[in-house]
């Protein structure tokens, strides 16, 4: 496995948030329809190229969302799911909430990119609720995205501030969706989930063995494509 692990180490240091966003952007196939979740996933839009011809969906009711609106572009009737003013690209379309969620839930989005508290070895996702006593829950469209998109990419730091792995055997936080995550992009590695468990596509600043020490589920290197 020594050979395998060195072959998947693709950077000498962990990735910054922007480097990770750039990597996710690069991995999105040309012509895809994509929904970027609130927070870290939003950064991905900064690295999509015109050549890729990606169409962004925002679940409040739009395809063809453009960059964040600036100055006199700001229009309070044109916002994204994070309630940030955005712009409209040529070829955009507007629709109501039921049509927008039908698009998500009907499996028409190629990829959604979401943040997460935890991802389990079987691809379960926890990203909406800490489950802490007294916490007021709020779910929004997270469950619809997690169960509806063809591919669900998670973007997160591998470790919590306390140093615990967010990739876990079984989620301890309340679930968003069961077996829905297909890839996990973290600062230390890219993980692929599948029927055979979790495989590691590449590591950043650590070897597979060093990564394995951080993550409490068995890891193996992904077969080369």
């Amino acid at each position: 496995m020594g050979v395998m692990e060195s072959s998947i180490k693709t950077s000498e240091a962990p990735l910054s948030r922007d480097d990770l966003a750039r990597l996710v952007a690069r991995d999105i196939a040309p012509g895809s329809f994509v929904n970027l979740g609130i927070g870290q996933p939003t950064l991905v839009s900064n690295y999509l190229t015109e050549d890729q011809d990606i169409t962004l969906h925002t679940e409040n009711g739009m395809l063809g969302m453009g960059p964040e609106a600036k100055d006199d572009e700001i229009d309070e009737d044109l916002i994204n799911a994070g309630k940030i003013p955005v712009t409209e690209l040529p070829g955009a379309s507007y629709f109501h909430h039921a049509d927008s969620f039908a698009m998500m839930r009907g499996g028409h989005l190629d990829i959604c990119v979401l943040g997460a508290f935890q991802v389990s070895v079987t691809g379960d996702l926890a990203n909406w609720h800490t489950g802490a006593p007294g916490a007021i829950p709020a779910v929004g469209g997270a469950m619809d995205l997690a169960t509806g998109a063809k591919d669900v990419f998670v973007m997160m730091t591998l470790l919590t501030r306390e140093g615990a792995s967010k990739i876990v055997e079984t989620c301890t936080y309340p679930l968003t969706g069961v077996g829905c995550v297909t890839r996990v992009y973290t600062d230390k590695a890219v993980f692929l989930t599948g029927p055979g468990g979790i495989t590691v596509r590449e590591t950043f600043g650590c070897t597979l063995e060093e990564l394995q020490e951080l993550v409490p589920v068995p890891l193996k290197a992904a077969a080369a494509a």
Binding site: K83, H96, P137, A138, G140, M143, T147
Partner: protein, 237 residues
């Protein structure tokens, strides 16, 4: 029956205590602020409110909640940085919360308007939001049974209405308007402009007038929500 009224006060005057009221809008886009203020002033209480959120800041729905007029919220995203009035009522056990994934909220509202008795969806399966609900495996996927959300009244905002009550919206302000209009027994709409019947292209009507009961004109505060650069085209009648 469709009627056009002169004031938001008149528009909401029929709303009774104990009503279920749907309120359109996502963020500020499509929020019928003036109708919500009128609902505040009209005194109706013991309300069940259906909205994506549970009020923000010190205005609109947040004030209704602060004043104890809302018995129950049906929404997808109550907790926000400025949802302090809801948070306080909720922590004090003074308001009931039915938390619904946003897509289930939209589909359940749509189901009410469409006469659907209930439906199965994968959203929420295996999560705490499906606890106590009927589930079944369909085509290999776990699914949850969800029921329609009907309302006595819907308060929504559109860009324009014609004389038949046909509506067009503007950009992402469309959001819940069309489905709430169909789900409520009585739909009250505030519009920036009322145009003659025939001035909206029949191809582009988003909410047909059959779903509209009361229309009131509330001119846009500035040029930000309506004006000459609107996205809807008009024919000369």
């Amino acid at each position: 029956m469709l009627n056009f009224v002169e004031s938001v006060q008149e528009a909401v005057s029929g709303i009774k205590d104990g009503s279920t009221v749907m309120i359109g809008g996502f963020g500020n886009a499509g929020q019928p602020f003036e109708l919500i203020d009128a609902l505040m002033d009209c005194g109706a209480t013991d309300l069940t409110v259906v909205n994506n959120n549970a009020g923000q800041g010190d205005q609109g729905l947040a004030l209704l909640i602060k004043e104890g007029r809302v018995r129950k919220m049906i929404c997808s995203f109550p907790r926000q940085s400025d949802s302090w009035h809801f948070d306080a009522r909720y922590k004090a056990g003074q308001i009931e919360l039915e938390l619904v994934p946003q897509g289930n909220l939209a589909e359940r509202i749509r189901a009410a308007g469409a006469g659907i008795g209930g439906f199965f969806t994968p959203t929420g399966y295996g999560t705490m939001l499906a606890e106590g609900k009927e589930t079944r495996i369909i085509d290999g996927r776990g699914q949850v049974f969800e029921t329609p959300i009907h309302a006595d009244v819907a308060l929504i905002k559109a860009l324009k209405a014609d004389g038949k009550g046909n509506l067009v919206y503007r950009k992402t302000a469309r959001n819940f308007g069309p489905i709430m209009a169909a789900a409520a027994r009585h739909t009250i709409v505030q519009v920036a402009e009322i145009v003659p019947t025939g001035a909206l292209d029949p191809e582009n009507v988003v909410t047909p007038g059959i779903y509209v009961n009361t229309v009131v004109r509330v001119p846009a505060a500035a040029d930000t929500t309506a004006g000459s650069t609107t996205g809807t085209e008009e024919k000369v009648a």
